[in-house]
Structure formats: structure tokens, C-alpha cells
């Protein structure tokens, strides 16, 4: 298992390097002169040129790219923010906890709601509850999250005055954004749980478990659910990535000063190092999340674990033959 994790970690390295190259290239191609933006429209051309030189913006693409990779990989240095002149890494790490909190809260909500609704729907297939739940889930999948957020503000903040509409100053500020994000992604998880569980319930070993007189609850939870969880976990992992992307929208709807909103604000200010660093950090967290999903597979699905141990045995045998 440890070797499997190590291998997956090693596989992450080239992917992340590739992400750095892509993100850098996208930002390199972005029009607009950061030096001009920093100094203002009225600054003399010589001062702009001087600043370009000190920022290294006059170097060729490859020189800039290599310097960026070197700084990121060896020194964790993401450069300086053009807007605040502070190190980007500090600026984004300051805001990152809010984004992670939002994503974690939403994932928790969506997992609890999605999986329990999915189980009820699948065990009571074609009942009224199932029909209502699947229709609501389909509506939920179709709803733009940012619009759902806006409507939640209209209903719960403006009309009912139950919850605050924007900011992040206390626990009550997190309810609307995390519910909006969480419930909208619970729809996907619910649909996946339902279809996966329906497939598993028709397997022979479920019939066997029922035939030996096992309690239905035990059959569903211990026999069926564990096997039905693999595709669901994949979807949860993918939803986490979508949530990191979606948090950009929800953070700007609810004016939460997280990383997502920071990226959007920096895009409009052409603060390229911040955008690069922010996207990089979100991509890194997404990759780590995918890694965790892959490790969970190993625990949930003995086939994956055994596949791995077989390959190790083969390797061992090959070594033995070589000797």
C-alpha cells in the first residue's frame, strides 16, 4: 500500500510541473502591461521601462518560465503581488483557509444529504419519495450555483431576514454559502449513489444475504453500500474539484474574502503572480484530493489492493529469476 501511495505521489510531480507551465503560459499571454498597471496611466515611459526590467518582464518567455519554475519548486516562492508588493504565497495562504472551510463544509453537507437521499431512493425505487427526490436532484444539477446563491440571498436575507447576505464574520455567515454549494452538489452525489446502489442490489450476493435471513438494514449498509461506494467516491472527489472552482463564484456572490474571490479580483487588476499562484494552489489541492480518493479505493475495493500485491509478487519473482 505504501508503495502504491508513493507511486501515485511520484506521478503527481510531472502533472504539477505541467500545471505550472500551463498556468504560467496562460498568464504570459494575458494582454496588458503589469508595469503600466502598477505605475498608473500617467507614469513616464522611462519609469515603466525600468520597472519592466526589474520585474524581469523584458526577458524571453523561456527565461521567465524557467525562473518561475525554479522559484516555485525550490523556494516555494510564487513571486510578489503587483498590487500589494507582498509575497504572493503569504497573500494566498492568508485567504486559503476560508476557501478550504467553505469547500469542506459544502462537501460534508453534500455527502450527508446526497448519500442518504440516494440510499432511500434506491431502496424504495419508483416510490413517490424516489420520484420526488430524483426530480429535485435533476433540478439541482440544472441550477447555476451562483444563481442559487443569489436566490438564497433574496429569500433568506432580504425577505425573511434570517441570515446575513454577505461577508464572513461569524458562523452564521457560512450557512447560506455552504448550503448553496453543498446542496447543489448533493444532487450529483445522490444520482450516483442511487444508480450505483441499484446496480449492486441486483447482484447475487445481495440475494444470498437476504436469503440467509439477514436484516434488510444490515444488507443495505454492510453488503450493498460498501460495494456501491466506489463510483460515488469518484464523484465526490470530482465534486471537490468542482467546488474549488465553484467557490470562485460563490465567494464573489457572498463577498467572502477567500482565495477564489482574490483570484477574480486579481484578474481584473492584471495581478498575474497572484492569479498564477492561486490557480496553482487550487490545482494542487485538487490533485491531493484525487490522491486521497485513489488511496480510499484501495481500502474500499480489495480487488485494487490485490491487483497491487500481485504485481509486487511478480516483481519479486522476476528478481528471483534474475538471480
Amino acid at each position: 500500500m505504501i508503495r502504491y501511495i508513493g507511486k501515485r505521489l511520484l506521478m503527481m510531480v510531472p502533472v504539477l510541473l505541467g500545471v505550472i507551465v500551463i498556468v504560467f503560459t496562460i498568464m504570459y499571454l494575458t494582454p496588458g502591461d503589469p508595469a503600466r498597471m502598477m505605475l498608473g496611466a500617467g507614469a513616464p515611459a522611462s519609469a515603466v521601462e525600468e520597472l519592466r526590467e526589474t520585474l524581469g518582464l523584458n526577458d524571453s518567455y523561456f527565461v521567465q518560465l524557467l525562473r518561475y519554475i525554479k522559484n516555485v519548486v525550490f523556494r516555494f516562492d510564487l513571486g510578489q503581488s503587483y498590487a500589494s508588493n507582498k509575497p504572493v504565497i503569504n497573500e494566498i495562504l492568508e485567504r486559503f483557509p476560508k476557501t478550504i472551510l467553505l469547500a469542506t463544509l459544502s462537501v460534508t453537507i453534500s455527502v450527508i444529504v446526497g448519500i442518504s437521499m440516494g440510499i432511500i431512493s434506491a431502496t424504495k425505487q419508483y416510490s413517490i419519495f424516489d420520484k420526488i427526490a430524483t426530480s429535485i436532484a435533476l433540478l439541482g444539477v440544472s441550477m447555476p450555483t451562483f444563481w442559487a446563491g443569489l436566490m438564497a440571498v433574496i429569500i433568506f436575507s432580504v425577505h425573511l431576514r434570517w441570515l446575513p447576505a454577505s461577508g464572513s464574520y461569524g458562523w452564521e455567515y457560512w450557512i447560506l454559502p455552504s448550503l448553496t454549494l453543498g446542496l447543489s452538489s448533493s444532487a450529483t452525489i445522490m444520482r450516483m449513489t442511487r444508480s450505483s446502489l441499484l446496480e449492486v442490489i441486483r447482484q447475487d450476493y445481495i440475494r444470498t444475504a437476504r436469503a440467509k435471513g439477514q436484516n434488510e438494514r444490515v444488507v443495505i449498509i454492510y453488503h450493498a453500500l460498501k460495494n456501491a461506494m466506489i463510483p460515488v467516491i469518484t464523484v465526490i472527489g470530482m465534486r471537490f474539484g468542482a467546488l474549488l472552482g465553484g467557490s470562485v463564484l460563490i465567494e464573489s456572490v457572498f463577498a467572502i474574502s477567500g482565495l477564489g474571490k482574490f483570484i477574480i479580483d486579481s484578474i481584473s487588476m492584471r495581478d498575474n503572480p497572484v492569479v498564477q499562484g492561486g490557480v496553482l494552489l487550487l490545482a494542487l489541492s485538487f490533485s491531493i484530493c484525487n490522491l486521497l480518493v485513489d488511496i480510499l479505493y484501495g481500502f474500499l475495493d480489495p480487488r485494487i489492493k490485490s491487483q497491487y500485491s500481485i504485481s509486487r509478487k511478480r516483481g519479486w519473482r522476476r528478481n528471483a529469476q534474475a538471480q
Partner: protein
């Protein structure tokens, strides 16, 4: 019995259409999408007012008989703007998915067909693109390109390419082993001919399903990018940018926010139902 024989003779696509026609919700979705397409094509004739007509005596009006969905901050009729907005949304959805399918499909086909080093290199490149959450990639691309229709399409298409490449590659891998591919290789058909004439037509089914669901995603991304100010710019009626400008009046005028979002939701809803229906129709084994 006779009828059944006739049906089986007509082939795969006829069967699929027959199955789809029996699916009431999918047909309803198709009907809604048909209406939307008609709205988009004949927007100038259907919309009660020109979309840019400003009426400063009737700003912020709530829904009434005169303005069915109310008016906005410039006194423009919201219904007319939503009808015109369907043009942009459908256009962006359709063209970005077509672009993504062409490029993703080609990459996937080449990757699956040749295998080996080509496959490895292409798929690792796709892995890298997939390591960035799709929305975030589309946002950064949209920021790098200037805002506008074409660039919006490009940004969304690039973010979608890896998904299609994977779907097509998986389909190609199974088809490649079929005997008729071997047969055409034996009679000396070129690789290009085999890919375009024999392989791609046979993996159309998963591509069509993915495209329908993908179009829903593309319309969502387009509206989200416009909402963030990175897509279609304000004077043009687009659902996302309508929401973006409605935001500042959210405390007093709910109708400005509610209806454009509802339009997005109905479109996506119809596309999702149609996509599910198509999957059932094209691959009956998957139905549960």
C-alpha cells in the same frame, strides 16, 4: 411480428430513435429545446420589444401585463432580453461543444488507435489539463483572451477537450479490436480512412450522449463567466451578464435576478433530461 422484423432491419439509429420516442420526459425536453431554438432564430419576431429599447419612464417595473417579466434598470423589457439571450447561450453552448468534440475526438482517436508512446504523451497532457478544475481553467483562459463571444467559446472548449478525448479514446480502444477493423487493415486501408470511416462513426453514441450533457455544462460555464464579467459584456443580452447587472439591485428588485436564472435552469434541465434519455436510447444496457 412482421412489424418487429421491419424495425430490426432499419438499424441502430432507427431503433434508438424508436426507444427515445417512447421516453416521454425526453420527448418533452426535446420539445422545450425545439422551442428554445425557434426563440433563438426568430427572436426579432417573437420578442415583444426590441432588446435594447430603453424606457426611462418604466424602469424597475415588476412583472405586469405590459411587461410579462418586468423591466430592468434601463427600462428594458426583461422577457425580450431573455428571448434574445437564448441566441448567445445556444450559440456558445453549441459551438464550444463542437470545437471541443472535434479536437478532443481527434486527440482521443489518435491516442486510442496508435497506443504506445503517442497515447502516453497525449494522455499525460490531458491529465495535466484535468488537474486544473474546469471552471478555474475556463476562468484563467477567459481572462487571458479578451472578453467576447469567440474567446468565450475557445475558453470553454479548451477546458472541455480532455473529457472528450477520454471518452473517444475509451470507445476507440474497444472498437479497434473488432474484426472489421482488422479486415480493412488487411485490404490495405490507410490509418486515416480506418479512423474516420470505420472507428469514429461507431463511437458516435457515447459522443452524442456526452455532447448533450456537455452542452448543458458549457451553457452553465458561459453564464458563469459572463456573470464574473469575463464573457459576454453587458449591453449584449446574455443570461449570465443579465444576472451580473441585476446583482446590485438584488435587495429591491428580485424579478431582475429570478427570470434570467430561470431561463438558464430550464435550458440546462431540458438538456440534462434529453442527455439521460439519449443514453438510455443509445445504450439500453445501461438503463436501470
Amino acid at each position: 411480428m412482421l412489424k418487429r422484423n421491419k424495425k430490426t432491419k432499419k438499424g441502430f439509429w432507427h431503433d434508438a430513435w424508436y426507444r427515445l420516442r417512447k421516453n416521454k420526459s425526453a420527448m418533452f425536453a426535446l420539445f422545450i429545446l425545439g422551442l428554445l431554438v425557434i426563440c433563438a432564430i426568430f427572436a426579432d419576431y417573437i420578442a415583444p420589444y426590441p432588446y435594447s429599447l430603453q424606457d426611462y419612464n418604466h424602469t424597475f417595473e415588476f412583472p405586469s401585463r405590459k411587461h410579462l417579466l418586468g423591466t430592468d434598470n434601463f427600462g428594458r423589457d426583461i422577457l425580450s432580453r431573455i428571448i434574445h439571450g437564448s441566441r448567445i447561450s445556444l450559440l456558445v453552448g453549441f459551438s464550444s461543444i463542437t470545437t471541443a468534440i472535434i479536437f478532443g475526438g481527434l486527440l482521443g482517436a489518435v491516442s486510442g488507435f496508435y497506443g504506445g508512446k503517442v497515447d502516453n504523451a497525449l494522455m499525460r497532457a490531458m491529465d495535466i489539463l484535468m488537474a486544473i478544475p474546469g471552471m478555474l481553467l475556463a476562468i484563467s483562459l477567459a481572462a487571458a483572451l479578451k472578453p467576447g463571444l469567440t474567446n468565450l467559446v475557445i475558453a470553454i472548449a479548451i477546458a472541455d477537450i480532455p473529457g472528450y478525448a477520454r471518452v473517444v479514446r475509451a470507445a476507440v480502444l474497444t472498437i479497434k479490436e473488432q474484426e472489421y477493423i482488422e479486415a480493412s487493415q488487411c485490404i490495405g486501408a490507410s490509418d486515416g480512412r480506418i479512423i474516420f470511416k470505420h472507428i469514429l462513426p461507431n463511437c458516435l453514441a457515447p459522443i452524442i450522449v456526452q455532447a448533450t450533457l456537455g452542452m448543458a455544462g458549457a451553457i452553465l460555464s458561459a453564464s458563469a463567466l459572463s456573470f464574473l464579467g469575463l464573457g459576454i459584456q453587458p449591453p449584449t443580452p446574455e443570461w449570465g451578464s443579465m444576472l451580473s447587472s441585476a446583482r446590485q439591485y438584488i435587495r429591491s428588485y428580485w424579478h431582475m435576478t429570478a427570470f434570467p436564472g430561470l431561463a438558464i435552469m430550464i435550458t440546462i434541465f431540458a438538456l440534462n433530461i434529453l442527455g439521460d434519455g439519449l443514453r438510455d436510447a443509445l445504450d439500453p444496457r445501461l438503463k436501470n
